[in-house]
């Protein structure tokens, strides 16, 4: 399928048209994306610990491999990825099914409730969560103790701090994913469900035999989006737990920030940045292969 039939009139202008439409974007893209990204790449091979900066191929990359703090940050990031993302997506899928159910009234209200967290900016949201998760005076511990549960040191113990980050992320992003999944649900032909009903399939069977398989591409898309987002996780650990206690909630990007903007070690920071990019690139190739591939060729 070609989008346009072979050009006949004004072939030169026709051929130039797409490039002209792309020019403004790619001009700015070259200046503000390509150039800094390339410059950072060069930096990752320089010893920037002291002036003058000198070329030293494996100075930063060699350190990266041996750096326990880097591995800790990678481990935390991966843990959040493996635990939080599936929970959030499962939750989002169920929400999407509920949204699409004709049993649910007041859909506008429910969409609003689950989507509202997204419009809160990073700074406001972190300030609010810091207060809510405050051990002594936070609303959350107050509620927990009111129903007889023990209060938790959310920000000053390692595991609770990680849980805090995950709760915060889930709160902020579930509605967003639910909305994406909802649009996927709506594109599943109703006839499939009707046929299954006639065959006597129960609701649960229909969910696992029709909904999940048909939703797979969209689920995969949300999974890739969430993965990339998690790999770049910065705001929550930076502002809510200040990467603590210690480095219990240090992520790749917060570690990058520490090295670059607190320790002045731009070369090492660039190497960390590129390690994030490499991991993310693997996922984006997956995305193009598994989700976008067919479409790009359409």
């Amino acid at each position: 399928m070609t989008p346009d039939p072979a050009p006949r009139r004004r072939p030169w202008r026709r051929r130039a048209t797409p490039y002209l439409f792309l020019t403004p974007f790619f001009a700015l893209f070259a200046i503000f994306w390509v150039y800094p990204i390339a410059y950072s790449f060069v930096l990752s091979f320089l010893n920037t610990r002291q002036r003058p900066w000198t070329l030293d191929w494996d100075f930063n990359w060699g350190r990266l491999i041996q750096d326990e703090y880097f591995w800790n940050a990678l481990g935390n990031t991966m843990l959040i990825l493996v635990v939080q993302v599936p929970i959030m997506l499962a939750f989002a899928t169920l929400l999407a099914v509920a949204f699409s159910s004709d049993l649910l009234k007041f859909k506008g209200f429910f969409r609003f409730a689950f989507f509202a967290p997204l419009v809160l900016g990073a700074v406001p949201y972190s300030a609010v969560f810091r207060l809510i998760f405050n051990e002594q005076y936070g609303v959350l511990n107050y509620a927990l103790t009111a129903i007889g549960l023990p209060s938790v040191s959310w920000l000053y113990e390692s595991t609770p701090a990680l849980v805090t980050i995950m709760i915060a992320m889930t709160w902020r992003w579930t509605g967003y994913n639910a909305v994406i999944l909802l649009s996927g649900l709506q594109s599943i032909p109703a006839t499939l469900y009707e046929a299954a009903k006639i065959d006597g399939a129960t609701g649960v069977q229909r969910f696992f035999l029709i909904t999940i398989p048909m939703l797979r591409p969209v689920l995969l898309f949300t999974f890739v989006l969430s993965t990339i987002g998690t790999l770049q996780l910065f705001t929550e650990p930076w502002l809510i737990t200040t990467t603590g206690p210690g480095n219990a909630t240090e992520t790749l990007v917060t570690y990058l920030y520490q090295q670059g903007f607190r320790s002045f070690n731009f070369g090492y920071a660039s190497a960390i940045a590129y390690s994030v990019a490499i991991i993310a690139a693997i996922f984006s190739i997956l995305q193009i292969r598994l989700v976008g591939g067919r479409e790009v060729e359409r």
């Binding site: 700015l28 900016g121 107050y142 990019a277």
Partner: protein, 276 residues
């Protein structure tokens, strides 16, 4: 059969309502805290009803910063950014979706790949570029320019542009319409919902962006709302009430806007997702 449905419907609501309230609780609490004196914001037991300290908190906020000026910056920057970036995203999305040309696959892959690069990779060189080489620190342009090429916008727009009927474009071409005219007078009008959706996403992004403005803005009069709020947390006299008033101001317009333009918000989010 009908009774069965009713029971299931009630059960579903019984499950969804508490969840929905749980999700709204932090926002509700933020709005309440904006009206409380500092001592009551963090106190055991917590105060859960609105107080009367809203005006004082606003004064606190305005004492530390010229918050009206800060809001003007945020609005100006976000509006200019959104208009220009949406147009540029639409142009690129149109080219990618409706034209066949050498390098299309490669260029599109590059755009997608850019989505995965953390901003921090660019931060240092970009700072040098914008601040030193262009001399734009503390201006609106310093915030606007680096993000105008916004890959996610291009991605969303391309997905939507795929649905523009090629026959329509061809018919216009046969009538002798120029390419720019086709884009401006045919493509953009039918894409209005998608444009609105992408514009909302871009606006939200710019309105909430923190890291880059934090680096490039050092003068108080140039602050955007997130930067201004961020600096308040670091002050000696931490005025949580003031911060909560600021967060409420930064957030409320969007909550109202969302209720009003829900359709477009949702379209914006889903625009890129499902065209398989």
């Amino acid at each position: 059969m009908r009774r069965d449905r009713l029971i299931r419907s009630i059960a579903l609501h019984a499950l969804m309502l508490p969840l929905a309230l749980l999700f709204l609780a932090p926002i509700a609490w933020m709005l309440i805290a904006a009206t409380l004196p500092n001592a009551e914001i963090l106190a055991a037991p917590p105060t859960l009803l609105p107080g009367t300290h809203l005006a004082e908190n606003w004064r606190d906020l305005n004492d530390d910063l010229n918050f009206v000026r800060v809001m003007a910056n945020s609005i100006g920057i976000s509006v200019i950014f959104t208009s220009v970036a949406t147009l540029i995203a639409a142009m690129s999305g149109y080219a990618f979706a409706k034209f066949r040309f050498v390098g299309r696959g490669v260029l599109f892959t590059v755009v997608i790949a850019a989505l995965t690069i953390p901003f921090e990779v660019r931060a240092i060189p970009q700072y040098l570029l914008v601040a030193r080489d262009m001399g734009l620190a503390n201006t609106w342009w310093a915030i606007i320019l680096p993000w105008i090429a916004y890959p996610l916008g291009v991605f969303f727009m391309r997905q939507n542009m795929l649905s523009v009927p090629s026959d329509l474009l061809e018919a216009a071409r046969i009538d002798g319409a120029g390419e720019l005219r086709i884009f401006a007078q045919i493509v953009l009008p039918i894409m209005r919902p998608a444009l609105a959706a992408v514009a909302i996403v871009l606006f939200l992004f710019q309105w909430n962006d923190y890291f880059w403005p934090l680096l490039i803005l050092s003068q108080k009069d140039a602050y955007t709302i997130p930067v201004a709020l961020g600096t308040l947390v670091g002050l000696t006299r931490v005025s949580w009430g003031g911060i909560m008033v600021g967060t409420a101001i930064a957030t409320l317009p969007f909550l109202v806007l969302f209720l009003w333009l829900q359709r477009y918000f949702i379209a914006g989010i889903t625009a890129g997702a499902v065209k398989d």
